[in-house]
């Protein structure tokens, strides 16, 4: 019961959706399944919020080190949730002004919009901006030409880093527009850094990525198949958990 039904559910759903590719009649069923899928995905966001709540509460009640920060998280969480769900400060839809709740929840000047614009946006953007700093120190302290592979990688990286900026014009802009050997069709200027980086991307990176993609595609297909056939049941978790 605890295992058979989930296995059946996943197998039926999966094979119907595979069927939509080949049997036109299945397309409508597939669409219905996808609309349920999207609803579940929305509930997953709520589950995520719930999980956060649970964990922070545990932290606070156990008075774990740093529980004060957990309290901060909770306060921020509840304030945002309240102003968002209650549409605080949101004017109704201009077409239906008598319906107080018909406005857009993310309307400019609403409190929820304010939180998003002035707290969420700078925080998330700056978190990612930190990576520029980490990359710079890693460049100095970690990226070493230890072996042939790493050396090739770093040389290519440098060519492309230069080729994608104006440095390519400074350094190699003077390459003459003349043929290298007779009328071979290749000019010196074809090898300036900008063109060189394009050649690398088109003739070397693309085939490499293509092979990786082919491999990943086969991997995804076999993993999916194992899930549908019930060979791989890791998503069901262990029995003790139940």
């Amino acid at each position: 019961m605890k295992r058979t039904i989930p296995l059946l559910i996943s197998a039926i759903t999966g094979f119907v959706l595979i069927g939509t590719a080949f049997i036109p009649l299945f397309v409508d069923w597939g669409n219905i399944a996808m609309s349920w899928f999207n609803l579940l995905a929305a509930f997953a966001f709520i589950l995520g919020g719930g999980n956060l709540l649970k964990m922070q509460l545990q932290k606070i009640s156990a008075q774990q080190p740093g529980w004060g920060y957990a309290a901060v998280t909770l306060i921020a969480f509840f304030i945002t949730l309240f102003v968002g769900l209650a549409k605080v400060g949101v004017h109704p839809n201009v077409k239906f002004p008598e319906f107080a709740w018909s406005g857009d929840y993310l309307q400019e000047d609403g409190v929820f919009w304010w939180l998003f614009e002035y707290i969420f946006t700078p925080l998330s953007a700056t978190m990612f901006a930190l990576l520029a700093f980490y990359i710079s120190s890693a460049a100095f302290r970690a990226f070493r030409a230890k072996n042939t592979e790493a050396t090739i990688l770093l040389i290519i990286a440098v060519i492309i880093l230069l080729g994608r900026t104006y440095a390519s014009v400074w350094l190699t802009g003077w390459f003459p527009d003349e043929f290298i050997i007779g009328e071979s069709g290749i000019k010196y200027s074809d090898f300036n850094l900008q063109n060189l980086s394009e050649i690398i991307m088109e003739d070397f990176t693309t085939p490499g990525m293509r092979a990786i993609k082919i491999g990943i595609a086969l991997g995804v297909a076999s993993t999916s198949l194992k899930v549908l056939l019930g060979v791989d049941r890791s998503y069901l978790g262990s029995d003790q958990e139940a």
Binding site: N31, I32, F45, T121, A132, S136, F140
Partner: protein
Amino acid sequence: MLDFLQHLDRRWIFFLMFIAVAVPLIMGTTFPEVPSDQVMAVFDAVDNLPDGSNVVMALDYDPASQGELQPMASAFARHCAIKKHNIYFMTLWPQGISMIQNSIGILQDEYPETYKGKYGTKYVNLGFRAGNEGVIKLVVEDLKKSYSTDIHGTNLDNIPLTKNLKNIQQVDLLCNVSAGYPGSQEWVLYGSSPFDIPTVVGCTGVQAPIMLPYIPDQLTGMLAAIKGAAEYEQAIINAYPELENNPNAKEGLVRMGPQLVAHLLLISLIFLGNVIYFWERKQGLHQ
């Protein structure tokens, strides 16, 4: 000297990085860009459509990637506005709603004669739906199963632009700006490749190499990282010189200054780091 470098506090490197990006930004240095073939493929895909074609603009990014992607999204919006295209905005990221508002702002402020007060007839904002690739799968087959209303709660059957739209296979072009999952790759996998929807994307540097193999068969063109954005801006300015005086149309071009200095800094850091490494190896510190 080498000894000093070996034990250098990494905060000094952070500081150098800050200077390398900040100074060119304050100076506002720009460099001339020559649009590459790949960027011109994107430009042509938008430009060769007849005026007033239907374009889906899927903006799948969040404030965290705005630094890299906002110039692209703005350039797409501007270019479509010049061509008077009908635009359908949508996003697969909850934080993308505000990104759509930015693009709509451009349409209304810079092209009021085409778009001001034309909601529903020239552009429509479908907003966000949960479900990642599930949403794509649905909008390419049956739009209204996923989006029964637009972002304001208006029924799609009451909006002229969406009234007759069964699914987005019917649109003339799909423009996607994406910061990761779900994004460009999913649009290609579930939308443009199986249903042959003409698609152009703008994506972050991280994704760019992954998207390369799709060009040109499954993807018409790609703007890769901030360089792609700058070249695209230049291509639009070349074709429509009236934008020359609009500083907002050069967001990407302005960012190429810090890019140059920071790249040079990084390359010298890698070089210096390796010099130290080989010097240490000679000293026998690594066996």
